[in-house]
């Protein structure tokens, strides 16, 4: 018989299914009690899940691109979490969720851990889709459509991972402050900040798939030009035109 979830060692992998299920009592005890080992577990899962997903996405262009993207996806999550850590820690009590900076950091890392698990679990599916699409090449007439299809599939999987993670985060915030409206306000404020910073960090760290007409690079020569939302809009235009 397995031990209760809140009695597990902080680094134990068995607590991951508990996190996914959103079991209130153990998760609240983990939030209340700071543990560097548990934080390390969350970071390790984020690194593994997002790296697997990144490798799957980038491998369509080239195996080297797969390695670059496997490095960059975890960087997006960790840079966004750390970059917004102070802001998120300040917004929470202002919006009615009375938790400390550390607790807000742990809560956000928990939600990113759930997202990373969904991304990692979907990485075999992405590999399969990419295996079934023609090699990304400037010569194929349909490569722009195929590129847009892959891009939108990736965005859809990321959106699903985000939805799952944020549903659990909302449940956790409700349990922490007892008020639905405060929990919703806090979540939306965190989401807005993370979306803004995260989308621009992901734009700066491009390419993730890359274009066949451009060389394989870790970062583009002009990483600060343009933004994420422009790119998605152009992909939608190409797919439906």
């Amino acid at each position: 018989m397995s031990p209760p979830a809140d009695a597990l060692a902080p680094h134990a992998l068995q607590q991951i299914p508990t996190l996914l299920r959103g079991e209130a009592a153990p998760i609240q005890s983990w939030i209340a009690k700071w543990s560097a080992a548990r934080l390390g577990l969350y970071v390790a899962v984020i690194l593994a899940g997002t790296a697997m997903f990144g490798a799957a996405v980038g491998s369509w262009r080239d195996p080297v691109q797969g390695i670059y993207t496997a490095i960059k996806f975890p960087l997006i999550v960790l840079l966004t979490t750390l970059g917004n850590g102070l802001l998120n820690g300040m917004l929470a009590p202002l919006l009615g969720t009375n938790i400390s900076f550390r607790q807000s950091l742990v809560a956000i890392l928990m939600s990113f851990t759930i997202a990373a698990l969904v991304l990692g679990a979907c990485s075999p599916l992405i590999c399969f889709i990419i295996w079934n699409t023609p090699v990304l090449s400037a010569k194929t007439a349909s490569s722009a459509t195929t590129h847009s299809f892959i891009l939108l599939t990736v965005v859809t999987v990321i959106a699903l991972a985000g939805i799952a993670a944020n549903v659990r985060l909302l449940q956790l915030l409700r349990q922490l402050n007892g008020s639905r409206s405060n929990a919703r306000r806090t979540l939306f404020a965190w989401l807005a900040g993370n979306l803004l910073l995260g989308s621009q960090v992901s734009w700066i760290l491009r390419p993730f798939i890359g274009s066949p007409s451009l060389p394989i690079q870790f970062l583009r020569d002009d990483p600060l030009r343009g933004n994420f939302f422009e790119s998605v809009f152009r992909a939608l235009q190409r797919l439906f035109s």
Partner: protein
């Protein structure tokens, strides 16, 4: 005078007639062990609660092995029936592709099933999820064996790859629905609170299997190559096959 009243004999309640709220193991039939492939087939067809209970018991690995063996044998046998349409090398190529394709599709979708089941609130461990997937594959291929005589009769009376493809697809879809019902009942007994994520998963699994049939083509027809050189989306491949079939029929005006 005798006061004996003859009460009508009431047959015992079948375990699979029990509502899903009754915990597994409550009925004595649930606890009958599954000792090999034959009892696995019997359990999965007639006593699914027994199969579900044994997948959670200490001997789950042997039950999974039995279900896996049933899946492999039934997939290979059905593949031979599929291969009889073209004959020749397809008699071994079709079974190999069908068994491998279904297995690889399940492996591709397994991690997402475990994560989605946890998100739905299920208490299933990874080994139990593997067991449920092996049950899904086993039940699907057992039912395909049931369709095999029908498929064979049609394959001997038509030369149309498109028609045979549609027929096999229909049989596979019906069989997968029953397999899906087994999986869904399994997760219901494992405290899954929401069926939404699991419904998303079955759609993904079906799409992956359909794409796999295109990735491993030809399964029904013939080719000089074992695997295709060109990568295609499955809907595009089906449309091209149907157009080719229609133009051949217009050209010859006859069927075998």
């Amino acid at each position: 005078m005798n006061d004996v009243t003859i009460s009508p004999s009431v047959p015992p309640t079948l375990s699979n007639a029990l509502p899903p709220t009754v915990p597994l193991g409550e009925h004595p039939d649930d606890r009958l062990p599954i000792t090999g492939p034959v009892s696995a087939i019997e359990a999965i067809l007639r006593q699914p609660r027994r199969a579900l209970y044994q997948l959670r018991a200490t001997g789950a690995r042997s039950v999974i092995a039995s279900l896996f063996l049933v899946f492999v044998i039934c997939a290979l046998v059905y593949g031979v029936v599929v291969g009889t349409f073209s004959g020749g090398a397809q008699l071994w190529v079709a079974p190999a592709k069908i068994a491998t394709g279904m297995l690889v599709s399940a492996l591709i979708c397994l991690p997402s099933l475990y994560i989605f089941s946890c998100l739905s609130g299920s208490q299933a461990r990874l080994i139990e999820v593997v067991g449920l997937v092996s049950g899904l594959l086993g039940l699907t291929t057992i039912l395909l064996i049931g369709f095999a005589p029908v498929a064979w009769v049609f394959s001997q009376s038509t030369s149309s790859v498109a028609v045979m493809g549609g027929l096999h697809l229909m049989f596979w879809t019906i069989a997968t629905c029953f397999g899906w019902r087994f999986l869904r009942n399994g997760f219901a007994h494992l405290s899954a609170k929401s069926g939404g994520t699991l419904n998303v998963w079955i759609i993904i699994f079906v799409l992956v299997c359909m794409q796999m049939t295109t990735a491993l083509r030809p399964i029904i027809g013939t080719s000089d190559r074992l695997l295709p050189a060109e990568k295609k989306f499955f809907l595009s491949h089906w449309l091209d096959t149907w157009k080719e079939n229609t133009s051949v029929q217009r050209g010859t005006g006859t069927q075998r």
